[in-house]
Symmetry: C2
Subunit: 350 residues, 2 copies
Amino acid sequence: MDIIKETLSRIKPLSRELLQQAQAKLDNKTKPPGSLGRLEEFARRIAAISGSLNPDMSKKVVFTFAGDHGVTEEGVSLFPREVTTQMVLNFLSGGAGINVLARHVGAEVRVVDVGVDYDFADTVGLIRKKVARGTKNFAKGPAMSRAETIAALTVGIELAEQCRAEGVGLVGTGEMGIGNTTPSSAIIAAISGKTVAEVTHRGTGIGDEALVNKIRVIEQGLALNKPDPHDPLDVLTKVGGLEIAAIAGLVLGCAANSIPVVIDGFISTAGAMIASELHPDVRDYIFAAHESVEIGHSFMLERIGVEPILDLKFRLGEGTGAALAMTLIEAGVKVLKEMATFEQAGVSNC
Amino acid sequence: MDIIKETLSRIKPLSRELLQQAQAKLDNKTKPPGSLGRLEEFARRIAAISGSLNPDMSKKVVFTFAGDHGVTEEGVSLFPREVTTQMVLNFLSGGAGINVLARHVGAEVRVVDVGVDYDFADTVGLIRKKVARGTKNFAKGPAMSRAETIAALTVGIELAEQCRAEGVGLVGTGEMGIGNTTPSSAIIAAISGKTVAEVTHRGTGIGDEALVNKIRVIEQGLALNKPDPHDPLDVLTKVGGLEIAAIAGLVLGCAANSIPVVIDGFISTAGAMIASELHPDVRDYIFAAHESVEIGHSFMLERIGVEPILDLKFRLGEGTGAALAMTLIEAGVKVLKEMATFEQAGVSNC
């Protein structure tokens, strides 16, 4: 628990002075003030987070955390559990959606096993941080022990520390875990008090009957485990997941180490929301990549207090939305760094 | 007029068979069907437009057309008219917003003088296609002659032909012209029958009083010139602009030459709408980059029948929104080309 307390103690609100200096720099560029809209917001926030009016975005990393879920034995997903393992191998050989999109935007993908139910042994390229071989079925008891939750959070925090040491300028979150929209819906229901039906959707594409079952399973899990909505770690432990905990840790670690972090869709946002519940200033470091098709997502974004950047009707996860949003954020930073001023270009200001 | 008729005669609807083949290829990739949302739509349409399931996107070009507007003498803009010329020089030295964003996405910027009120002589890098030194003040008579309109359209058509010869895979539109939200609002008002107040906004950022004046000027221009809403070229001639006509020509030329074209904001969309009014199948070739802050923009997009890709609260023009949308479209094409299939990756399909 000490590492979490210590991490939380290092999270500070953004410097108003830097935000203002960045906007002043933007207002001197050859364009009507504010005319690049949200790109200017991105530039301002990245400047304030990184502490520089010339932020270095050359190193960008997407973390894809993988974990399995005991609750899949309740038939909540369309795909078999083995697909988590198969997709981890797909990530490592570069053929998955996140690989294609991260390559496109010049970001590196780091694949982290935090809880897959498979022994990867010495598989090349995998970051091996397995806390357990999947969670337990939360319809029958808590998904994790508190110690497992802390261990998975610590994985994320330590990866953020390493990014700081390497000079990574922008971090993205992603995940893979068959069944993991189920704990994500459970988390937002537990924390917000919304009904399960209001925040539960079709995941990879389940039909009507399976959706009714998924809602029933989550309701049963919440009734049985009674997570305390005022204790985010209790919610995470009882109805969450190992990859969700690792994402929460990564977001906390990024905030503590002054690294901007782009959160992907529904599952990543569940993790970021836990982080944000633990410390109010975490939201200043978060960029919400996109609005997912999952109906519970908008409640999470609202609760954190962030506006999604893209709306491309994604429901894949892995970090795919984060990768695309990262290139838009980088575009904003380049506007700040590379555009000519009115004076440099000899353009009349209004 | 012959070149326009000939161009229109070459525009065909997209192949349903190629659209289906592209979707089938996407559905075999390692992801739940449809889970990459609009990226899959982009990939499908690009495949059908280019006639290939492996479209080549290596060459991307943004055309920034520049022109001046006689109506600026009515005080419709915040910036002085000279800024059109100054910004053209800024584009050529690489310091403007469009330069930064096009570089970011790997697109080339081609700057075209189609109607700037300045003699650029042999300025290096400029594509010199001047039809006139700006339009006339449409509050006092027609902005252009029909011959000028045809000449500016032809500039755009010929640049598209050249792209075809060069193997350009994706074209973006952009513009620079102090005062050019005024003709754009006039065009959508004339064609849609909306009131001028419904489609007229603040451009580069004019205040309340100037907005009232801008609306009055457009109303006066429409009442005086009586453009025929069923003759798009009459609307373009009487209340349009040279750069808007060139964009209309570029869009027609792209459609005729099977090149996908990404249209930028309010002014570019006015040009694309003229093209779309001239031939119903033009819309199949158009990607709408973003939703502009200008209030008339959504009416134009609706009339063409296209959904904007981004909503970043831009109101700059130049092609800035188009550049960013181009990289998202290219991402969709890479999904189609680069992602592993279930069989290749050894992943179980549902």
